[in-house]
């Protein structure tokens, strides 16, 4: 059994992330972002999702204890929307209000179809978006995995750590391969358990 918690940054779809994990038979729980890293490790968590949040939250310097998780974790972390923007900023990149914010249906184009997060996801697919801000500078330690017409950094990963970020929302029912992406993240967490 793999245990993946959802860290709640106040997103509309936090609970959908929890449901997605539950349906895919992961042990899961929604925890406030003020939960300490020690509590999480004491509970034996194998992976974390950093949820999205209310407008502008990705631009704040502090997102609960998300910085602590990113500093100390050796387990996989998937940041979504505000969680994704915060991750890039934590490693020295930047995020700013989008010139063209995206809401609803968008075509995602993968730049790296071989990535473990995108196994069985085609090069182009429909994803659902809802963001006012986006990453403007990608840190050197991270790599870009996907883009859309109006947003350069739709999916990112750390070059050395098992950390991923997604600007779009794989937990939303309308995202074509959302469940596949969750399945892939669960596999990444399982693989990490054994190493």
């Amino acid at each position: 059994m793999v245990s993946i918690y959802v860290v709640d940054n106040g997103g509309q779809w936090t609970h959908r992330e929890w449901r997605m994990l539950k349906y895919l038979d992961a042990t899961t729980k929604i925890v406030p972002n003020t939960t300490t890293w020690k509590t999480l490790t004491d509970e034996g968590v194998d992976g974390l999702i950093l949820s999205g949040g209310a407008p502008r939250i990705g631009l704040e310097n502090k997102l609960g204890n998300c910085d602590e998780y990113l500093r100390k974790s050796n387990i996989p972390i998937l940041g979504i929307c505000a969680g994704h923007q915060f991750m890039a900023r934590f490693f020295g990149g930047d995020a700013k209000p989008s010139k063209i914010p995206e809401f609803g249906k968008i075509t995602l184009t993968l730049l790296d179809t071989e990535n473990p997060l995108f196994i069985n996801v085609p090069k182009e697919s429909i994803v659902w978006e809802s963001h006012n801000d986006e990453i403007t500078i990608l840190p050197d330690s991270m790599k870009n995995l996907a883009k859309s017409e109006n947003c350069t950094y739709q999916a990112i990963m750390h070059k050395e750590k098992p950390f991923f970020g997604l600007q779009f929302h794989p937990e939303v029912n309308n995202t074509e391969y959302g469940e596949q992406i969750f399945t892939n993240f669960i596999s990444i967490c399982k693989k990490n358990q054994t190493t």
Partner: protein, 315 residues
């Protein structure tokens, strides 16, 4: 996957543990409250009293049908016609959040009265996940105050029991089928009712217009889907807009209001895409609305917005 039988077992045990004595359920007759009533009835039997409030903002024949449903389910029930009170308290109110809060508070006032008479301590509600998510609080932004969460007064005497809090509509329907609830496939209808399908003041006159328009949209879409011209959307209704436009009626100038038709595909109400309705069906709906409601309505439009950026209901 969601497992209805094990959910029913766990929820029933939980309800038996929490609820001591009598409980009141806010019963609208929709899928959520009906499933919730069936579940709680299973747990505590006739200690449960269902209360249906006719707010005056219900759809055509809805309160009458709900009365029949409560009888069919052998529920201990109270039927309250509070339409006059609701119309009075929403007089001159145009702000959607104010409407929702007034409606929510009024519900609690009425439930409190019954609770006092019957010596009840628990209020059971069919609250589901989108209700508390969208109502916001703490980190989460308020998208809209659902009457059963964000519309509740700060101080409440009744203790809340909400067994469906972590479920979405598709899961509630699975429960409904398992519990053999007759309204299992009924389309969602918001608690504040037609009041939030009327942009601007929800007067009795404007309520009548939108009620008739909603009935036309429902009838024609259900007919077209029975005739296999289209699949039945997840939700479909009419909205009365606060703008007027110019038309021509029998060689005379007409200056009337606008109805928007909304039909969406969704699974959980947390995102949706607008439905593609065949033009011939939209044509029939438009003609029926502008002919039967011609005195007030001379224009019909179709809403082509997904969620996000829109929401399903307009307010």
């Amino acid at each position: 996957m969601f497992k209805p039988t094990s959910f029913i077992k766990q929820a029933t045990e939980q309800i038996q543990k929490t609820v001591k004595g009598k409980a009141l359920i806010a019963f609208s007759g929709g899928v959520d409250s009906t499933v919730c009533a069936a579940l709680v009835n299973k747990a505590i039997g006739n200690q449960l009293i269902a209360v249906h409030v006719d707010t005056g903002y219900m759809r055509k024949n809805e309160s009458e049908n709900t009365k029949k449903l409560m009888e069919e389910m052998n529920l201990n029930y109270r039927f309250i016609d509070a339409s006059k009170e609701y119309y009075a308290s929403l007089k001159n109110v145009t702000d959607p959040e104010k409407k929702r809060k007034i409606i929510g508070e009024k519900f609690i006032e009425l439930f409190d009265e019954v609770a006092n008479e019957e010596n009840i301590q628990y209020l059971v509600q069919g609250t589901i996940a989108p209700d508390w998510i969208e109502s916001g609080g703490e980190l989460r932004d308020t998208i809209k105050s659902h009457h059963n969460v964000g519309g509740l007064p700060e101080k409440m005497n009744l203790k809340l029991v909400e067994p469906l809090r972590d479920l979405y509509k598709d899961e509630v329907r699975e429960l409904a089928r398992e519990l053999q609830v007759s309204v299992s496939e009924k389309q969602p209808f918001p608690g504040p009712g037609l009041a939030i399908r009327i942009m601007g003041e929800a007067t009795p006159k404007r309520t009548k217009i939108v009620r008739e328009a909603c009935a036309i949209v429902e009838e024609e879409i259900e007919k077209a889907s029975a005739e296999k011209k289209m699949t039945l959307p997840w939700q479909y209704f009419a909205v009365l807009l606060p703008v007027k436009s110019v038309g021509v009626h029998g060689d005379k100038r007409a200056y009337g209001q606008v109805i928007a038709i909304r039909a969406v595909e969704s699974m959980d109400a947390m995102s949706c895409s607008f439905s593609t309705i065949p033009h011939e069906v939209i044509d029939i709906i438009s003609n029926r609305i502008t002919n039967t409601l011609g005195h007030d309505i001379n224009r019909v439009v179709y809403d082509v917005t997904n969620k996000p950026p829109g929401t399903i209901e307009w307010e």
